[in-house]
Subunit: 349 residues, 2 copies
Amino acid sequence: MPAEFEPHQGCIMIFPERADSWQYGAYAARKAFVQVAEVIARSEQVTVCASAGQYDNARAMMPPQIRVVEMESNDAWARDYAPTFVKRDNEIRGIDWGFNAWGGLVDGLYFPWDKDNAMARKLCDLLGKDVYDKRDFILEGGSIHVDGEGTCLVTETCLLSAGRNPTLTKEEIEETLRQYLGVSTIIWLPCGIYHDETNEHVDNICAFVKPGEVVLAWTEDQKDPQYAMSKSCLETLEQAVDAKGRKIKVHKLPLPKPVTMTAEECEGLDACHDEPTRTPGERLAASYVNFYIANKHVVMPGFGDPADEQAKEILQELFPEREVVQIYARDILIGGGNIHCITQQIPEC
Amino acid sequence: MPAEFEPHQGCIMIFPERADSWQYGAYAARKAFVQVAEVIARSEQVTVCASAGQYDNARAMMPPQIRVVEMESNDAWARDYAPTFVKRDNEIRGIDWGFNAWGGLVDGLYFPWDKDNAMARKLCDLLGKDVYDKRDFILEGGSIHVDGEGTCLVTETCLLSAGRNPTLTKEEIEETLRQYLGVSTIIWLPCGIYHDETNEHVDNICAFVKPGEVVLAWTEDQKDPQYAMSKSCLETLEQAVDAKGRKIKVHKLPLPKPVTMTAEECEGLDACHDEPTRTPGERLAASYVNFYIANKHVVMPGFGDPADEQAKEILQELFPEREVVQIYARDILIGGGNIHCITQQIPEC
């Protein structure tokens, strides 16, 4: 699996419409998605999937250089439904993992998830890519990060969760990752971002910026439950050796101050399975690590927080050849993820 | 507009499902569509559009070398909904004509037709082609045939019908064809095939096999109403001079004996707008002219008629460099058209 910072031939996104994910008819979220798509499209071909019902609206909102295709889904998390693309024999192929809405009947976030689970194969068909069928293994794209040189980052909370592959041992899960991603070393972070409802996907807390170097979401506030979580990840990373035998260089990326739902935002969400989707004061899993590395840009979230600028400066230093663009992403965050979660890169051959 | 016998980069089809078009749940029709797609796919990339609900089934029925994409429609006539592709400045672009189900509120065949009418633009988006917007002009792909050298064949019954562009004069319609198709000479056949509910599309009665040469559906049975119709077309063609100043050489292609609906077939069709779609004994517009010219094959209909073999031999002589493949097409014909109607070529650049 090529790293995200290697060249892309394109990017996949999904037009948001689910009324229990996106407040007030998804209008604010759509605007943010359009901004993300527009920045990525400056240096790679963006394909946006929209349901038949939202096709016209997606086409009208998206700039013309972005391709809109009809494809239904249960929600809008391209990172987790789209194939994981890998390279072999100079050909790009897609892995079709099983998807069960981040935990299936144990702690999944919605039911059903059949349309999401069908997307990887549909996308491979659309793009003319062959498919590796691994639907008997539950994995989301957001739960792995690779350096393109044989190292994979994951979190224990997610990959060992009871709702994914409970019959497999940690060793068997590692073996699947080795076989399908072509990696040799798996670094298990203990956890992710506090209150991250994906069972703490790695892509919200830690990401490779180049081989041997990662950013780690960080807070100095020792009273924040995130402090111990980030610290335990740091300790793991400090002990780790990557596939090439290197120690990992860790760049701390500050977290914004806790972002919580307002009562007004909660009122704009449909109930999910007869329960409120979000409650006022609920903390969201905001993190600047949830960025997308496009060919010529890094598209990162902003939260209207004093740390926005500092986080942007750090990333700009780490990506000197790309322009870092920050997009106000509260309306994506409310849905439960961020810019990395709503995008999936297609590597170049 | 390149002629159909010029090289193609691909072909568009639509998976049939409409219950008032395709008898008994469309199962027999789907098998015929699969056969057509399979033959075309031997020498060009076939893309089949399926609704979200039929996607899995279409994917399962279509051979793997055929691309299935999700795209809703009101029925399955790719010739008439897909863009007419034209070449300019070494680029292929699509014309998005208006579509109103072959006559709109005057004598259209179903209501609504909005999904069909949206397809040309969606397909251009999918294929990365620019669009000429001519939605203010009602035209179906099946109502035109070109020789690629400046000549266009049409029928008066169709292009001058009250349900299409009644406010335009014949000269204004000609001017639109000249401008959008890049033709200079339009040959107006008086009519098409008897009982052809498209107001007698030209593609069911007459088609170019090369510049200066056409096949014309023909019967020697003077008691058949088709006799006078084909004869009047022949007289027009004998008088005609094409864009290059040539006389038209006409090859008569025999018609099968009249094909009529059985009571059992009628019972397998939903009513359309509270009226029976077809009645027992109703004559269908069967014609061997309704073939598709693929890169290396000519895909033509058969009806289990003694003339099947003769028609195939004539076409094989006219297309010596292509293999003529005959597909039993009664189940396509019942829907109201034939192999040319369910396909649309994308020319090579």
